[in-house]
């Protein structure tokens, strides 16, 4: 499963006829402070899609991801993940989560960090190492298994964290601005790597970002979110050819879609919020 080479070739952006792996219906989230972080969100995500949530700070994109992951509970509405509620989904280890920071444990080596979820989930001892090594090879870090996290660059640390999220072979991958703290060059490289990973593993990825080019380059669909209250403004399909390469960024369609996203953000007053 983990390495099933079912490639995500040309997933039609409107492939909603397939069984939705994530279904969000009328979900709202009001924090104790009274902040409406998310209002009446509706979203269906099909197996194998690459969905980006984009918007300025305070638009609820991280909130939506945390709701899907059962790190917080919605005030109202229903969320289903492969037909289960988020808590059941979390308990059945349906998803891997990549945070803004690599959150590696500094006392563990790279290999041991990737083995962490497998230890928590009581994988057989013999299998842990094999799986972790395979995942590290997948992110191109097979030569760094014995290093400690601080010995790696920020980009490499984030790759370890991606390998860790994939180690137990979840169907879903949640990524919360994973490359936000990295420089532009590293980020573009990691974007390419992430797409390769997505093609090779067939995972469904939900990716939070506030970079428009990043969202357009990666996604099959872009969920544009706007603040006050946080809501889904519109969903924009991205019909750029797969597999995407460095040249994809030069295509006229690329700029067209980027413009479309920008206009949707402006329409929802996404530009009025200063960070």
């Amino acid at each position: 499963m983990m390495q099933s080479n079912t490639p995500n070739t040309h997933l039609p952006s409107s492939s909603l006829e397939a069984r939705p792996i994530v279904s969000v219906r009328q979900v709202s989230m009001v924090f104790q402070t009274g902040t409406v972080a998310l209002k009446d969100a509706n979203l269906e995500i099909a197996q194998g899609e690459f969905i980006s949530l984009i918007g300025p700070s305070g638009c609820g994109k991280t909130t939506l991801l945390r709701l899907l992951a059962d790190l917080i509970k919605p005030t109202s509405g229903t969320i289903l993940i492969s037909g289960k509620n988020p808590e059941e989904a979390r308990k059945s280890r349906a998803y891997g989560y990549v945070f803004q920071a690599p959150t590696l444990m500094e006392w563990r080596t790279v290999l041991s960090n990737v083995m962490l979820p497998l230890e928590v989930m009581n994988f057989p001892a013999g299998e842990r190492k094999a799986r972790a090594e395979k995942m590290l090879a997948l992110v191109g870090l097979e030569k760094f298994t014995r290093h400690y996290p601080w010995q790696l660059s920020g980009g490499m640390q984030q790759r370890v964290s991606i390998a860790r999220a994939l180690a137990f072979d979840p169907q879903l991958l949640f990524m919360d601005e994973p490359f936000g703290a990295l420089d532009e060059i590293t980020r573009e490289n990691l974007n390419l790597e992430l797409l390769r990973l997505w093609r090779e593993t067939g995972k469904t990825i939900i990716f939070v970002t506030h970079s428009i080019p990043e969202a357009v380059f990666l996604s099959t669909r872009i969920v544009v979110m706007t603040p006050r209250p946080g809501k889904i403004e519109t969903v924009i399909p991205v019909n750029l050819p797969q597999p995407r390469t460095f040249e994809t960024r030069e295509l006229p369609e690329f700029f067209q879609i980027a413009t479309e996203v920008r206009e949707a953000l402006r329409k929802g007053h996404g530009y009025e919020v200063t960070e």
């Binding site: 989560y97 928590v120 010995q151 920020g154």
Partner: protein
């Protein structure tokens, strides 16, 4: 061992500076006393106050030469019950056992503080109060109490050392257990880790550096606790017993020698903690050895995005 030698140089420089400052101070303090001794016609093998300043039987401040002689007298024979080595070993034993005992108790308190607010609110004030009672007051009573149950010798002193040392350990470890950032705790939640796993794989390892910082504070506190306990109770062995004896005998030089020896003992015990720390935290050893990379900006998260 390569790490000890670079520390030795600066230490020696400080020792030399202290010695250079001490010398004139010693003369300043001793010359009036020497003059008085000469005036009263005491039998001294010297003519002038300046000469006698370094040869008084009970000097205000001992001369380095007197210290050196006193040191040689008190160090040997190594296994003599009246020499420093054996007594220092007993005090070191009390201190280390006290520290381990304190670590055990401190750890339980730390877990209590982290796991339960009720525990923290109801017990922490009493723990703080317990630390304000002077050891010198509580030590004799504890010895009497423990003596009732046949606990004698060095063990009561270790318990008193532990009594002083457990507080910094409890507070330090509690802070360490709370140190994992919210994202790391979220990460464990996404794995559906249970409480025990979160402690075992995240909170305990994260608290180790805090534990050792606390150990360094607690070690010196425990040493003082052990010595004070020895002084304030009936003791047959230990640095504190030597101090008490020589205090009664008004042997100023010996007092200074013992005091300096206990300082050296303190340095050695803290070095022992440092050495243990390097042994059990290999990831930090490497970090100290090399220039660390700039730390990744930690993005704090709640409603962001």
């Amino acid at each position: 061992m390569t790490r000890i030698s670079p520390q030795l140089g600066p230490m020696l420089v400080v020792a030399l500076i202290v010695l250079a400052l001490y010398w004139p101070l010693m003369y300043l303090a001793n010359i009036p006393a020497a003059q008085r001794a000469l005036d009263t016609g005491a039998a001294l093998p010297c003519k002038t106050a300046f000469e006698c300043a370094t040869q008084l039987r009970s000097p205000v401040l001992p001369s380095p030469q007197q210290l050196w002689n006193g040191f040689r007298n008190l160090m040997f024979p190594l296994n003599s019950p009246n020499a420093i080595p054996l007594n220092a070993a007993v005090t070191a034993l009390e201190t280390v056992v006290g520290l381990l005992l304190a670590a055990l108790v401190g750890f339980f308190f730390a877990i209590g503080i982290v796991a339960s607010r009720a525990f923290e609110r109801s017990l922490l004030p009493w723990i703080v109060a317990s630390q304000t009672i002077p050891v010198i007051a509580i030590a004799p009573m504890l010895v009497v109490l423990l003596g009732q149950y046949g606990v004698q010798g060095w063990i009561p002193k270790a318990i008193i050392a532990a009594y002083i040392a457990f507080f910094p350990i409890a507070i330090g470890v509690a802070k360490g257990l709370k140190s994992p950032d919210p994202l790391s705790l979220d990460l464990m939640k996404t794995y559906n880790a249970n409480n025990w796993q979160t402690y075992l794989m995240l909170r305990f390892p994260a608290s180790i550096p805090y534990l050792f910082t606390a150990f360094k504070v607690a070690m010196t506190a425990a040493l003082i606790g052990a010595i004070v306990a020895e002084i304030s109770t009936i003791s047959f062995q230990g640095i504190g017993k030597m101090l008490a004896e020589n205090s009664r005998a008004s042997d100023v030089v010996a007092m200074w020698v013992i005091m300096l020896s206990s300082a050296v003992l303190g340095i050695l015990l803290v070095a022992l903690v440092n050495w243990t720390e390097r042994l059990v935290t290999p990831w930090q050893r490497a970090k100290v050895a090399a220039t660390p990379m700039p730390k990744q900006a930690r993005v704090s998260k709640q409603e962001g995005g």
